[in-house]
């Protein structure tokens, strides 16, 4: 895969601020919510840790993944994915091989950093390990403006009851305590929501 500078799909966005991490470190003890276990009184552990293999966030290092440019770009404020050089297919998530033509000649291209909520909900119970402290949190599918992609992601910035279909959100990189980076959506405060 190669860089594709000037001919990117959309204008390169400005560098964002990496905000404070939402989740505890992967190795840190996190409290575990449980429900009563009538058949197992007292057997529920009060605390549990998140083992390495239960870490949801992807490997980012170049020693571990060919897709490390995605994370390098994200740290630099760019939201990117791969596009097949032969058939022009915009691939999400980023791929090492085009699933249509099975070639590995892919270019990194910038994606729009704004979009509109297509559907949304919230996790009010039943969060996985490492995410219990985030509850309640909102998620949604977002139509990126100017790209044929509808991405799933966490939506920050408003209580779940104040989100609406059609609302404008922007892509926001955020840093993990261990130095990795990931993305989420944040409601555009400057723009009024579009009614359902």
């Amino acid at each position: 895969m190669s860089e594709e500078g000037e001919s990117s799909a959309v204008p390169r966005p400005r560098r964002p601020n990496l905000s404070s991490p939402p989740a505890p470190p992967a190795e840190a003890p996190v409290p575990v919510e449980g429900r009563p276990e009538p058949d197992l009184p007292g057997a529920r552990p009060r605390r549990a840790t998140v083992p390495t293999l239960l870490d949801f966030f992807p490997a980012e290092d170049e020693k571990l993944t060919e897709l490390h440019p995605f994370f390098d770009h994200l740290k630099a404020g760019r939201f990117t994915t791969t596009r097949c050089r032969k058939d022009g297919e915009l691939l999400w998530p980023p791929r090492a091989v085009c699933p249509r033509c099975h070639r590995s000649e892919l270019d990194w291209v910038d994606l729009p950093m704004r979009g509109r909520i297509y559907a949304h909900s919230a996790v009010l119970a039943g969060a996985p390990l490492g995410m219990e402290a985030d509850v309640p949190f909102s998620v949604g599918l977002v139509d990126l403006e100017g790209a044929p992609l509808r991405l799933f992601g966490r939506i920050e910035g408003r209580p779940w009851k104040e989100l609406a279909i059609g609302q404008l959100v922007r892509v926001e990189p955020y840093g993990l305590p261990d130095g990795r980076v990931f993305y989420r959506f944040r409601v555009e405060e400057t723009l009024a929501p579009v009614g359902r």
């Binding site: 057997a43 999400w92 998620v139 966490r154």
Partner: protein, 393 residues
């Protein structure tokens, strides 16, 4: 296609579903005992193949290589095919489908399909974590993608596009819990859930409430499939497998098609019914995947039982209840029975055979059924698996 041999499902049994004081292995043994009790003619040494539907034994029971473990627990020694099948929520049907394929192809004559899941573990957060890795873990997982918020978005879009109501969702749950009420193997046996009560339960993932979601459940089920010429030795009412269809559409949520029109299910159903040589109007009852109330509503539409967007109305009009167009989920569904991932698809097939044999309580017996359809979705409804059965005898 080359000529396939006829395959009959000749019996089966399930454990009680629920929060069980039993391990993964104990559930397998319990299902095995129930199966051999249900089919006394079956000798363990004639079972030539075993297919074990198990979605996440590594995560829920910290156990891999589960097919030989199950064989040991069941006291069978497969000499043709021994295999585990994993397709998340459809792992059980996947075991049946594999046994069907092996027998139809002439590679097996007597095959067991067993489905099992142990989901209630000491840490529910860890169990939720296991459920979350059904999705595209590194790309959707970090956002908190689990089934409830995904199906909540399906419900939100269905409400947004078609005006479907919370009452319609609750009506699905009420119906399936009513069926489960008289099913002693159901997780919610002898529990009543009125529509009013369901609409007061807390939100899990808006607009879905607790009663809109199937449960974390422990359970196991097993069925016996045989080549056609052996069927009469085991049952008077074989359930002949007449068709099957499957469709995989996407995995990462960004590549999902329409949330409200499950075209993959429509295509899989069309293929299964084409093989069976019938239309959906011939199906007397259907065991379909109500992991969430909205799923059953969208599935009515995908099956062509009603026009797009009319699934809620179809439910509220009683068209999926006894006396309506088709009886849907007489076993009690995933909502009423619970949803032990690997066991669900097998338990649905057990219900098909029991309905054909008139071996269920009168309260859920479909009048003289001849054709049945079984459906499982898996993951984010990105895969649909369907089978069509015809009563023989």
């Amino acid at each position: 296609m080359t000529q396939l041999r006829p395959v009959a499902l000749v019996g089966g049994a399930t454990t009680r579903f629920g929060v069980r004081a039993a391990t993964w292995s104990e559930l397998v043994q319990e299902a095995g005992r129930a199966l051999f009790e249900a089919i006394p003619e079956l000798r363990a040494d004639e079972v030539d193949s075993l297919f074990v539907g198990a979605a996440e034994p590594e995560r829920f029971a910290f156990q891999s290589h589960v097919a030989p473990l199950a064989a040991e627990l069941l006291g069978v020694a497969p000499r043709r095919i021994l295999q585990r099948t994993e397709l998340a929520c459809a792992s059980g049907q996947s075991a049946i489908r594999s046994a069907y394929a092996a027998i139809a192809a002439g590679l097996s004559d007597v095959a067991l399909a067993l489905g099992v899941e142990k989901m209630n573990i000491p840490s529910m957060a860890e169990a939720n974590t296991s459920m979350a890795c059904v999705m595209d873990r590194p790309w959707d997982g970090p956002h908190g993608a689990t089934a409830p918020p995904f199906f909540a978005m399906v419900a939100q879009r269905h409400m947004h596009e078609y005006g479907t109501t919370e009452e319609a969702l609750a009506a699905v749950s009420e119906k399936n819990h009513r069926f489960a009420n008289t099913n002693p193997e159901a997780q919610f046996h002898e529990k009543t859930f009125s529509r009013e009560k369901l609409l007061r339960l807390p939100m899990v993932a808006p607009p879905l409430r607790l009663g809109d979601c199937s449960s974390m459940t422990d359970g196991a089920a097993a069925v016996l499939l045989v080549a056609g010429e052996h069927a009469k030795r085991f049952t008077d009412t074989p359930a002949w497998i007449r068709g099957s269809g499957q469709h995989a559409s996407w995995h990462n949520l960004a590549n999902a098609g329409s949330l409200t029109a499950w075209d993959g299910m429509t295509l899989a159903a069309r293929e299964a019914l084409r093989q069976a040589g019938i239309g959906i109007d011939r199906i007397d009852f259907a065991e379909i995947h109500d992991c969430f109330t909205i799923s059953e509503i969208v599935e009515y539409e995908a099956l062509g039982l009603c026009p797009p967007g009319q699934g809620g109305r179809f439910m509220l009009d009683g068209q999926s209840s006894p006396g309506g167009k088709i009886v849907v989920n007489p076993r009690g569904g995933l909502l009423g029975c619970g949803h032990p991932l690997g066991a669900t698809g097998v338990a649905q097939a057990v219900e098909v055979h029991r309905q054909f044999a008139h071996a269920v309580p009168a309260s859920r017996q479909v009048p003289d059924p001849e054709w049945a359809l079984v459906h499982n979705l898996s993951g984010s409804a990105n895969v649909h698996s369907l089978m069509v059965y015809q009563r023989g005898g």
